[in-house]
Symmetry: D2
Subunit: 339 residues, 4 copies
């Protein structure tokens, strides 16, 4: 249930509604907007009778949210949410920031070369995995804390914002200490214990869509983060499982406008995992910008043939440098921009 | 097997290679290119020993085509094929023609309003179904010949090229008589009897990808058309079946660069069936152009709420008119153009 | 709309209702049942007002069929339909007939060895393709009429009923002449022109589920056959497309109880295409019988390693002979039987 | 790499091979079998040169394991693994134990009624969730420790073995304290941190297949458990995501014989989640036994209409009591038994 206040409702009226919601046994979640405040009601599973509140002073309207998700929905908040992970790096507005870098942090030389290369080409943030979810227990699992320290070093040299994945609560706290944004990988999209733990940490989160998740399930997982009080959530489309073996995943770009319709949260696109094949990354990155993605996350490696993981889908530095101007032109064509 | 001739090979040398292929029991298929001629070998199922031909005068190289498809492949023909369905309406080159119109031809007033509207907005061709494949035998099945006559009337008034679907051999001959391009629908992508019959007719064909077809199966179905001697084939990505119910299909745009890699045939995109939801058509049409689609096919209806079929995914005329300039800007950003 | 007559309704009352339906502009389709007659109404697309008929003598109830399919539905006919393709070979009752044989008819020796082998092991009918739908135009396309003649020869020697696939109208007429049951393959499940043509022929039909068809679409395709007056329709689950490459298809056995719930038509299972791997055929054939399949269709070949098609999924004759007693035991455990 | 020792190899020879493997920098994992011992090599990612070991005394053969998984594979251990979760409750042998009970533990009355009912009908173990992974953060999340205490009470009254799900490390330790088998849910199949933690605990594990996991990924997740030294792993097929909305999931029963081919681990089937619809559970439970499932896990609730979760797919107690004799008859038909 959502209580929409009148444009001229006073703070006292808003407080009174919040008190009334608490008296019903739920939590109020006030959401100030440009024109008026809405107050969400958290903690109810089923329908709630809001008729008493509807009669209170300053209340314009009661909206019964029929969808399963609430705080992530456009009904809850009509304006786009802007999620800033570092000064000047904001998702959800006119600019379309690019997060680029290697799949895994492998060495100081590798991450520094990556960082300088993508910075020069126009990236706003650096990606790099220190904790790697791998299908096989015998595959490279990441450098852990050492990897995060190398990310920090790369930040000091380039000023890039940092994004890195966490796979459990202890790892999330470590990533939060070193980086600007915690990534939750596709395999953990429905790891609710992790979602709750990261929601409590409060750092900006990049939540990837699970490989077979519906958009509704995707938004419900984001709801877990918001329900813990963390509204700085960036969604990420990264391809879904399909039957064609010519690509690694089926890049479901229509998820971009679908999410924009249903939710106020920004959504970025990952054409590297979305296709899994280097030469398909540039056209699909262009397509992602064209259909409204609020950012991109692209795997770039100085020497993809020697990468510990995901080499086949990583762009070379010079390919990335060639791609950014194309993306800028596409962004310009739809009145957005890439810095 | 493909015999690549040297750039300065003489006509006599080419003829001699063709004779040698015939002597082996196969059909030669010479393909003159800008720089050199290649000669394909048709009629073999398994591997062929081409060593004797490799030693002939004028032969540069023997390429053993390992993929299941041949005449549709880039190995067979390296340059993009240009498919012209009417004067000035060519797919596969720099321009990106738009085919627009209603799902079904419903009445003279409806098809004329559609044709004038899309023509004015910038479409190059008119779509409109006279024979409709419907899941239910009790749904509207199309106006048949009467529908084709109305299409022709619309052409006389506007000059638009005509594209319409055929579902069987008799229908194909009728569509060929009235229209410029025969559409084979997704449900008939593996109706091999129809593919053979339409291949023999020789008119340009728009072949839609089946709802669960791999790209390889899609190209093999096109191969049926080329194997009958019809090289004027335009492929069409129109969405594949997936599990999310917020869209009608999952629009698999990465099929565009994948097909461009594997085949010389042009491929257009159908964001109307690709999403099934009117408001998602404009962003996905933009994305299709951005990733390199050689054309678009879009459902447009003067009064979608009263459409006999597919009303929910049809753009209104004014929405289509607003969309074309956006598409033009995107095309311009990647050095292509929409007339 | 379905008019359910009282148990003691007279033939005159039934005729009067039929006349009334005709007067409304529709076709009546009387369905005599063990306890009472129901009269379906054919030819309406949208809802019909049946209140006048509801007041006629002998009418027990008017049922408004909300589902898209009608004549195939349990509401239309509550008792299982029995489909007899040859004397003693009936699908939908207590017995579970087995159709077995090679993918393609290849030679006289091959089809006769197959027929004698499967007959001896307990099969009731012989399968064998004379017209083969192949993904590649360069693959073996079947022996055509010659193949059907060889099937007939095998029948003369063994007495087995014959099932063979048709891909177009001309082929269907030829199959109807030589065989007891016309198979419509998965790729043609939504080839509506073929469905209409075969519906008119009137021979028993085995309709295979398309590779990505929902059960609703599957039943709607069967509805095309019944709408032409052909009620002798056997459905067939043969696996759907999925992402795992260890099997050729995902054998969706829950389609068996789902179809039994929604429709009165019998449904058989094809574990050969359902798995695509010889060693998985016996366990999945057992599973199909256990969950209620009304028959099985299994690929068996005297020398699978030399088969022109589908060798990898064909049982050897001795494997089939070992399987039948297992299937008999499973059938017995659920009060059904295999002759 | 797998070192297969001769049947008469001495303990000293086996020790010498283990020492040699350690000297190469890897861990040896000796696997005594009925006829001979095999020694696996753990810790290598890429290929290993085993030629030196091949020349040692007592060594019969070196097998290079090409598949990504090792300890779970049939090459690693040819005989079926027997996993005993409580005295008399063993998976992987001739008997087919049934785990039954409600989705969630809701109250003392509910779990006791469930336990007594399923025990009487023939179940060997009780299922019941104390920690529930729910798509929505606002749905019932389980009773936690209180739920586990109620499970224990039910065990004291009935003697049933206990199976319950854990979602994180702390929960796993609690489940391990109260129950006989820790369930890892489908959503956590690739939660590698959880797999590692539960692998270390050492209790028997029931690992459910992810909703879009290939069999290879499923086995690799089991490999995470075995790599931590826990070999008491029971796999569980519970349906995969598909497009048909008439069932909740597509129950992929061919996973049973596929896993039996590739792995020595037992695999059970969950027809409740596999179909999501109560009336489809009995036929699909029968099918699962018929194709070789090593056990079943079935949702049963004394009053499904009042269940907090999964009521629509839960059998009533009397339905479960009717089902068990059917399953016994099917098991008997394939020389297995249900106690």
């Amino acid at each position: 249930m959502l209580v929409v206040m009148k444009g001229d409702a006073t703070p006292e009226q808003i407080d009174a509604v919040c008190d009334a919601i608490r008296a019903m046994g739920y939590q109020p979640a006030p959401m100030p907007g440009a024109q008026r405040t809405a107050i969400g009601l958290v903690g109810n599973e089923g329908p709630v009778d809001g008729s008493a509140i509807g009669a209170m002073n300053g209340v314009a309207q009661i909206i019964y949210v029929s969808k399963q998700f609430k705080q992530v929905s456009r009904e809850w908040r009509n304006e786009n949410s802007l999620v800033t992970i570092a000064p000047g790096v904001t998702f959800g507005g006119k600019t379309v920031p690019i997060i680029a870098g290697p799949c895994s942090v492998e060495s100081e030389a590798q991450i520094l070369a990556s960082a300088h290369g993508v910075k020069k080409a126009g990236a706003a943030a650096l990606r790099g995995g220190a904790f790697k979810p791998r299908s096989s227990p015998y595959s490279f699992q990441g450098l852990g804390k050492k990897g995060l320290e190398l990310m920090r070093l790369a930040q000091q040299e380039t000023g890039l914002a940092l994004v890195s994945e966490a796979m459990d609560e202890a790892g999330a706290e470590m990533v939060a200490k070193y980086c600007d944004c915690i990534q939750i990988g596709a395999r953990n999209m429905q790891n609710y214990s992790l979602l709750k733990a990261i929601g409590k940490i409060g750092k900006p989160v990049l939540l990837k869509r699970g490989i077979a998740a519906t958009i509704t399930e995707f938004l419900l997982s984001a709801e877990y983060l918001l329900a813990e009080g963390n509204t700085n959530v960036i969604l990420c489309e990264r391809g879904i499982r399909s039957w064609d073996t010519l690509v690694r995943n089926t890049f479901d770009l229509s998820a971009i406008p679908v999410v924009h319709k249903l939710s106020h949260l920004p959504i970025v696109a990952d054409p590297s995992h979305g296709t899994g094949v280097r030469e398909f990354v540039p056209p699909m990155a262009r397509a992602a910008v064209a259909c409204g993605a609020d950012g991109l996350i692209i795997e770039v490696h100085p020497t993809p043939d020697k990468a510990f993981s995901d080499g086949a889908q990583s762009l070379r530095l010079e390919q990335f440098a060639d791609l950014v101007p194309e993306l800028r032109a596409i962004a310009g064509a739809i009145q957005r921009r890439i810095e």
